[in-house]
Subunit: 353 residues, 3 copies
Amino acid sequence: MQKHRTGNFFEDFRVGMRLRHATPRTLTEGDRSLYIGLTGSRAALGSADTCAAQLGLSRRPLEDLLVFNTAFGKTVPDISLNAVANLGYAEVRFLAHVWPGDTLAVESEVIGLKENSSRRNGVVYVRSTARNQHGQEVLTWIRWVMVHKRDHGAACGPAEVPATEPVVPAARLWHGDHGPAVREICGLTGVDDLWEDYATGERIDHPGAMTVNDSDHSIATRLYQNTARAHFDGFAMAAAGGQRLVYGGHVISLCKALSYDGLENALSILAINGGSHVNPTYAGDTIACATQVLDKPGLGLAHVGALRLRTIGIKNAPAAAVVFPPAGEGKAAHPANVVLDLDYTIAIPRRGR
Amino acid sequence: MQKHRTGNFFEDFRVGMRLRHATPRTLTEGDRSLYIGLTGSRAALGSADTCAAQLGLSRRPLEDLLVFNTAFGKTVPDISLNAVANLGYAEVRFLAHVWPGDTLAVESEVIGLKENSSRRNGVVYVRSTARNQHGQEVLTWIRWVMVHKRDHGAACGPAEVPATEPVVPAARLWHGDHGPAVREICGLTGVDDLWEDYATGERIDHPGAMTVNDSDHSIATRLYQNTARAHFDGFAMAAAGGQRLVYGGHVISLCKALSYDGLENALSILAINGGSHVNPTYAGDTIACATQVLDKPGLGLAHVGALRLRTIGIKNAPAAAVVFPPAGEGKAAHPANVVLDLDYTIAIPRRGR
Amino acid sequence: MQKHRTGNFFEDFRVGMRLRHATPRTLTEGDRSLYIGLTGSRAALGSADTCAAQLGLSRRPLEDLLVFNTAFGKTVPDISLNAVANLGYAEVRFLAHVWPGDTLAVESEVIGLKENSSRRNGVVYVRSTARNQHGQEVLTWIRWVMVHKRDHGAACGPAEVPATEPVVPAARLWHGDHGPAVREICGLTGVDDLWEDYATGERIDHPGAMTVNDSDHSIATRLYQNTARAHFDGFAMAAAGGQRLVYGGHVISLCKALSYDGLENALSILAINGGSHVNPTYAGDTIACATQVLDKPGLGLAHVGALRLRTIGIKNAPAAAVVFPPAGEGKAAHPANVVLDLDYTIAIPRRGR
């Protein structure tokens, strides 16, 4: 059974190892339609070609998280097929628009390894990069994931834990090129709130809520060609006393879509500074979320500013029930109904003078 | 929490008020694929580019109800986010084909208001119009919806109820330009029944039936970017002793798709004269339908005629169980398993001389 | 009720009868996206335009089974609307790539009829052919299906059972034109196993498993415009003491997608030699599969060889539980958890000298 693919286990990784993930993927308007159908995304930049043109773009770019989830999915067979848990993200940077018809190719480099004291598993740190068909970087990110050892007795090297930035600094944020026409987004969304209208510390309770169905998350996760068994193999999950888990990236997409109300003029995601899937989401759970403005980093631009946001996703409770614990306290700071704690930075037009 | 969007309540509307709905939406072949996957639509005009060419069109237009549901969805955040119930439609007119790549922008005008005697809510009448990227009207419709008041004590003006036409008259029906080649549709569908072969009063029992799954209606309703909470927030619906409602427009789409068998050569919908979601549909319900030919209005054309149809959708019973009560008797005339009573007009080729 | 379409019954068929199925269908990138979302397909040829170009194709062809299922769906209203069971396939030959934008038109010829001794139904044998918009054959197949009689007393002719080939011979296999660049697929999939690396008799346990949700199979089957009631009408199925059946073609698609791991460099399906839906699949079942290499027919080509494979799909058990009984023993040779026994031939690059 030499061709029974079992994926990499902890002891198979080496710091500096490079993995070229299979296979490149062309994304199209068909993927966008499905993304909208699965998440209810209303992001203005992705909604209409005419809107994109009005804002100075040649056409609609693909939704940021469609790109992120597709690129992420490519890494699963090599990195996290034998994962215990996905522990965290850092330095997720969106570096260029991805257009329908573009092809993403994804590579990863192992940048850290730390065996756990149980010697049954260990944490693998990877930096992954998605490039388009021109070789241009469109997305890079760091994630760390706890991976099983195949052989608990296997000898592993000393721990190497990479330093990661708690927040992607403004100087490393990429923003699309926008002239003053970008403010016409207000005419498209019918909402006038721009960069100047958000205050650090401000809280936004997003009014919507979305019940996740089994097919919703299964279709989304398959669309991303993510093969992690925990999302698909209900038989094995039940045999282990559990049930299928909703892919965390789908929960991020749902919260992003729900956050439209209150952040209507957001242009695109510039970075994800950090994120944690605090508790699992299962089919049948209803997701709501609230957002706090953490910071308003200047981009040094006349027409576009940035908002650093913290969105907390909650299940089976309204957005008003979300509590924002002090940042950096980890999962223990959250009650059991919190499913997501995401720190990210978006671009939004400035009113200017 | 200034950015907690709560939508408009009854007392926020004024007759003559114009609302430009967010945001325009480009529809593509991806949306059509999903529409077919969600409804099973087999409409000949949407099935193949070669068919469209044979019938004299440059390519496949998008399905009428994909256009209707998308345009309708745009109005929800402004008109019916706080709706008690969607009460009715009138004068729904399809005025031009919509092609893949076209962008729809939707506006509404408040044309009537009537506070209910309870003073807890009132009926809002709006005329909505969808235009393509060239500014051409592609769809207009009137609907009325019962909307909550935010403040039961708020003073409201006198009732203004607009007059609506019970049937869109033939002179106001738009039909695509078709030469004699339109009759080649018979070769595509394998069915010879044309305008002359339908008789006023004739009944057609459509043989199919479709069980609605939670993901089906959720994906459809999200595809239309319709944000009405009753379709998505299972937690809140259960807390109120209920469950998620299937969006009525999805039920219309299902009945239209089921009605293919018996109306194979229908070209497109010209108008919806009126419609009522008689009882709610829930996931797990199986929808069937029957159609009665109400009238055969001439369009004054050599190659195309119109059929005014009444389709009644029923749940968890076969099409043969549908009873056609006299028109205009309202919901009370129907048993509890009727979900839709739709009066609409389609175009179909004429055999001619 | 003359327009209540009831489909053909056994006594309606005649050997030599030709049926032109309604209606042609244009397939697009939207259909591919949905196909990937519903099955998790990772086939390299369909994954990226850049991959296709590297392998010498102008762009990504559509997935073979998307084409097969769409073409098959077209035959249902005429052939199997009144089917008791789909009994088998033979001589399924894929004769050309189908590209996004291509339109399929499907015809069938009745090639055999055999009334059952009960005189309540009989077996109909048809050869079906799908052609593209240029009239080129892209797919032909034989299937036989047990169909109800409308009138048990109807007189039927003598049995005529066509001879079918147990295996499509190599000389009748069509393969795309590939130069030596086809071996670059290894760089795309990250796997080096080519034609020479598979041995007759070798077994591959595919590691994945996929739980089927009601919406998954419903959306897939509607996408194919397949109208067989057993897949959609939960009310009627429950009234008869059963439940909706998952369309067998969806199970084939799932097994094909799962078989990616271990057969990563497969280029396309050349033929399905035979297949049986051994037991029904229902929503909630989890599908896994294993494959045995039956043969390695030479294609007489320098760069591409063929593998004849037998894939057995199983429900609610891991791939390791699959047992390969001797070929040709039929359904009785399989335990009750086997859902598919498929004998097919794929193209895969040769290492060459």
